[in-house]
Amino acid sequence: MTHARSIWNNGVKTGIIGGVAVLIISLVGMVVSFNRRDIIFEFIAMGHTLLLMTGILIGYTAAKKTTATTTMVKCFNAVVASLVTFSFLALLVIIGNAVNLRAILVNASPMLYKALTLGHHDSAAGIFIILGIGLLCGICAAVLYSVPTAVRRITITALCSVVIAGVLQDLLRPVLLAWGPMSVISDFLFAGNGLTAAGALTVILVIAGIMTVWNFKGDDVKENYQHFSGGTQRGIKIGAFVLLACVLLILPQIVGLFLSEVLTIVGLYVLLGLGLNIVVGYAGLLDLGYVAFFAIGSYVTAILTSPELGFFALNFWQALPFAVLVGICFGVLLGIPVLKMRGDYLAIATLGFGEIIRILVLSDALRPWLGGAQGINKIGKPSLMGYEFSQPQEIYYFILAGCLLVVFISMRLKDSRLGRAWMAMREDEDVAQAMGINLVATKLLAFASGAGFSALSGAIFSAKIGSVYPHSFSVFISINIICLIIVGGMGSIPGVIVGAAALVGLPELLREFADYRMFVYGAALVAMMLLRPEGLWPDVRHKMELHKDESVAEEPQVSTAT
C-alpha cells in the first residue's frame, strides 16, 4: 500500500500546486474575460486555452519530477497531476453551486461556472466534463513526455505559435490588411474573433515544417558558418546589421499608428534602461529613484519651451542641452549625499530622492514655477529643417536616433577605462579603492552619466507627449526600469532592449487585458527570477558568475510556473 502511494505521491503534490494555480486563474476572472476572444474561431476560446495549457504543463512537470525510472509510472503521474489540478475546479463548481461565493470573491460568478463546465454548470455532467478535460490534459502531457525530444519541441512550438497568433490577432490583422495583397492571407487566417481552423492548421504546419528543417539542417548551417573565412563572417555580420537597420527604419511605416506608438514607448524605456544600466549594471549602485532625473529632464524642457509659464520660449533643440546639463548636475548633486551609503541604504535614499522630486513638483508651494498638479502644457515639438516631429511615426525616428546614440555611448563606455573602473567597484569597493580607483569620482561619474541619459529621455518624453504632469513620474517607473534591466540581463546592452520589449512592449500590446496586466507581470517577474536569473540576453561575464558550478547548462526545472 505504501508503495502504491509513493508511486503517485509526486503527481498529487504537483497537482495540488496546479490546482491552486488554476483556482487563482479562474477566481481573478481571467478565464471569463479571456474567453471573450477565441484562439480558433468557434472552436476554442482563450480562457480555456490558458487552463488547458496549465493542465498540460502541470502534468508534464509531474512526469519530469517523478524519480521513478519507468515511463509508465511517469505517464501515470502526469495523468494524476492533471486530474488533481482539474478536480480543484470541479470542487469550486460544486461549492459555488451550493454557497454564494460572490459575496466575497467578486469573480466567482455563474459565468465562470458556465465557462468551466462548458455550459453544464447546473448538472452533475459538468463535474464529469471538468474531470474529463483534466484526464485529457494528463494524457496529452504523458504523450508529450514519452515522444522524442525533437518531436516534442516541434509540437510545442507549433501549438504555441497558434496561441500567440490568436492572442495577438488584433495586431496582426491590421498589419496584414494594410498591405493590399496580404489581406488575402488575413482573410484566410482569421475569421470572427479568432483564427480559422484552416488558418490554425496552416500555422501549425508551417511552423512545424520550419522547425523540422532547422532541426535537421541547423547544425550544418552553423558548421558551414564556422568554416567561412574571417572576412566572410564579418561580411555576414555587417549584412545582418544593415538588414536590421533597414527593418528598424521602415518599421513604423509597416506596422501602423498604434504599434508605432508602442515602439516609441519601448524606445523611451530603452533610453532610460541604458542610462540606469550604467548605474546599476556597470557600477552596481542600486538606484531606485532614477525617475527623478527623467522628471528633471522633462520639466526643464517644459519650462524652457512652454509659452504657458512664460519664462523662456526656446525651441526644443535649444532646450535639450540645458535639460541634459541640469540632469547631470542633479545627478552629481544627489550623488554626493549618498556617496558613503551602500546597498539597501543607497536604495532607500535614492527612492526618497525620487519621491521628493515628485512631491515637490506636485505641491502647491512650487506651483507658479512648475505648474503643480495641472502640469505644464504646450511644450515645443522638435523640428528639423522645418519638418516637425509630431506623429508617433515621426517621433519614432527621433527616439531611434536617441537610442542609437546612447547604445553607441554605452558600448564605448563599457570597455573604457572608466567602464572597467565601474565594474571593479561593482565587484568590491574596497579592493577597487586599493587598486587606485578614485571611488568618489567614479561613483559620481556613474550617477552623472546615468542622470544625463535619463534627462535626455525625459526631454524627448515631454516633447512626445507635449505636456508634463507630476503623475507621470511615480516610483513605478523606477521600479519598472530596474526590472527591465534585470530581466534583460544585468550589464548587457542588448539585454536592456530585449527587457524593454518584454516588460514594456508586451504589456502595451496586450492593453485589452489591462486588468490582468500587473498580475501577469508580477508572476512573470517571479517565474523569470526563479527559472532564469541571468536574464533573457545576459552579459557573458554575469552569466558565468551565476552558473559557476554548472558545467553544462541544464534545462530549468519548471516547478512554480504560476
Partner: protein, 353 residues
C-alpha cells in the same frame, strides 16, 4: 592629532556636511518662525503628536517585519506591504458580517479579537508561502535577484487580491465603542488612537521579548548573525527563516487591522505606501535592528505629522501638509548623511549591506 583629523576629511565630507548643515539650519529656522508666529496652539501640537504616535506605531510594527527578514536573509522584502494589506482586506469580510448581525456592537472586544485573528492568520499564511515559493529557491543568489522577485511578488499579490475581492475601496465598519474621546491627564485623545497606540506597544513588547527571551528567538538571532555557524550548531536554518516570515506576517497583519481602524477603509493598494514608509523606518533605525525599526517607525510617524506644520509653516510655504512625505524622506537622507548606517545601525551594515 589635529593633523590626523585633517587628513581624514575629504572635500566630499565637507560638501556633505554643508548640505546636511543647511538642511538642519532650515529646519531650525522654520521651527522657530512657526513657534514665534503662534498659529498653532498647544492643543494642536498635542493632536499632531498623538496622531503621529499612532501612525508611527503602525509603521513600527510593519518595520519590524522588514527588519527581521533583512536580518536573516539580507534582502528587502518588497512584498511585505502586501502581506500587510492581505490581512485586513480579508478580515473586512468577517467584520462586515459581524456588523450585519450586530455582533460587532454587542461584543466589541470579542469581535475585534476575531478580526485580529483572521487578519493575522491570513497575513501569516501569505508571508509563509511567499517565502517558500518565491524566496527559498533563491538562497545565495546575487542580491538584486531576490529584490526583483520581491517586487514581482508584490505586484502579483496586489493584483491577486484585486482580482479576488474587487478593486473598490471597502469602508471598514465603525465600532461604536471606539468612537469619541477620552480625557487622559487633561488631554483629550480620540479613543481609537489610544487603542492603536496601546495595541501596538503591547504587540511590540511581546515581539521583542519573544525574540530576546525564547529559544526560538535566540535561534533567529543566531541565524541572522551567521547562517553557516548556526546550522553547525544544530539550528534548523530554513525553519527559522520561515518562522521569521511568520512572525513578521503576524505583526504586519495586526498592524493592518490597526491601520484599518484608524483610516476606516481597505483596498488592494493600501499596502504600498505604508510598506515603503515602513522600509524607510527600518533603514532609519538601522536595518536589521529590531528596536531600531520600532524607534525609526515612531520617529517617522511623528515627523510626518508634526514636521510639515512645524518646519514649513514658518517659512511661509503654502499647503505644507502636501509635503509631509518629502519631509520624511529628507529626514531619512539627513540621518543617513550623518549616520550612514541608521540611528541604531550596527557593524553589519558597513560590510554586508
Amino acid at each position: 592629532m589635529f593633523q590626523r583629523w585633517k587628513d581624514s576629511i575629504t572635500p566630499t565630507d565637507i560638501v556633505m556636511w554643508m548640505i546636511g548643515g543647511s538642511m538642519l539650519l532650515m529646519i531650525v529656522w522654520g521651527s522657530v518662525a512657526t513657534l514665534v508666529e503662534g498659529k498653532y496652539t498647544g492643543r494642536h501640537w498635542v493632536d499632531f503628536v498623538i496622531f503621529g504616535l499612532a501612525q508611527g506605531s503602525i509603521y513600527a510594527l510593519i518595520a519590524t517585519g522588514y527588519t527581521m527578514v533583512y536580518g536573516v536573509l539580507r534582502m528587502i522584502n518588497f512584498a511585505h506591504g502586501e502581506v500587510f494589506m492581505s490581512g485586513p482586506f480579508t478580515a473586512y469580510y468577517a467584520a462586515a458580517a459581524m456588523y450585519r448581525t450586530d455582533f460587532l456592537d454587542n461584543h466589541p472586544f470579542m469581535a475585534l479579537m476575531v478580526i485580529f485573528l483572521v487578519a493575522m492568520s491570513v497575513s501569516t499564511t501569505i508571508a509563509f508561502f511567499l517565502e517558500k515559493v518565491a524566496y527559498r529557491p533563491l538562497r545565495g543568489a546575487p542580491r538584486l535577484i531576490p529584490l526583483i522577485t520581491a517586487i514581482g511578488a508584490s505586484f502579483f499579490l496586489q493584483y491577486l487580491f484585486r482580482g479576488l475581492y474587487g478593486s473598490g475601496v471597502q469602508a471598514y465598519p465603525v465600532i461604536k465603542v471606539l468612537e469619541g474621546q477620552w480625557m487622559i491627564f487633561g488631554i483629550r485623545i480620540l479613543k481609537f488612537q489610544v487603542v492603536v497606540i496601546l495595541a501596538a506597544i503591547l504587540l511590540m513588547v511581546g515581539l521583542y521579548s519573544f525574540i530576546m527571551l525564547t529559544r526560538v528567538g535566540k535561534a533567529i538571532r543566531a541565524v541572522s548573525e551567521d547562517k553557516e555557524a548556526s546550522a553547525l550548531m544544530g539550528i534548523n536554518v530554513d525553519g527559522m527563516i520561515s518562522t521569521t516570515f511568520v512572525i513578521g506576517g503576524m505583526a504586519a497583519g495586526a498592524a493592518g487591522v490597526l491601520y484599518a481602524l484608524m483610516f476606516k477603509q481597505v483596498h488592494f493598494f493600501m499596502g504600498f505606501i505604508p510598506g515603503i514608509k515602513a522600509f524607510t523606518a527600518a533603514v532609519l533605525g538601522g536595518i536589521g535592528n529590531i528596536p531600531g525599526a520600532m524607534l525609526g517607525g515612531i520617529f517617522l510617524g511623528l515627523i510626518e505629522s508634526v514636521g510639515p506644520s512645524l518646519f514649513l509653516d514658518g517659512l511661509g510655504i503654502p499647503a505644507p501638509y502636501q509635503l509631509k512625505d518629502a519631509i520624511a524622506f529628507t529626514m531619512l537622507v539627513l540621518v543617513l548623511i550623518f549616520r550612514p548606517t541608521g540611528i541604531m545601525g550596527e557593524r553589519l551594515a558597513v560590510k554586508k549591506a
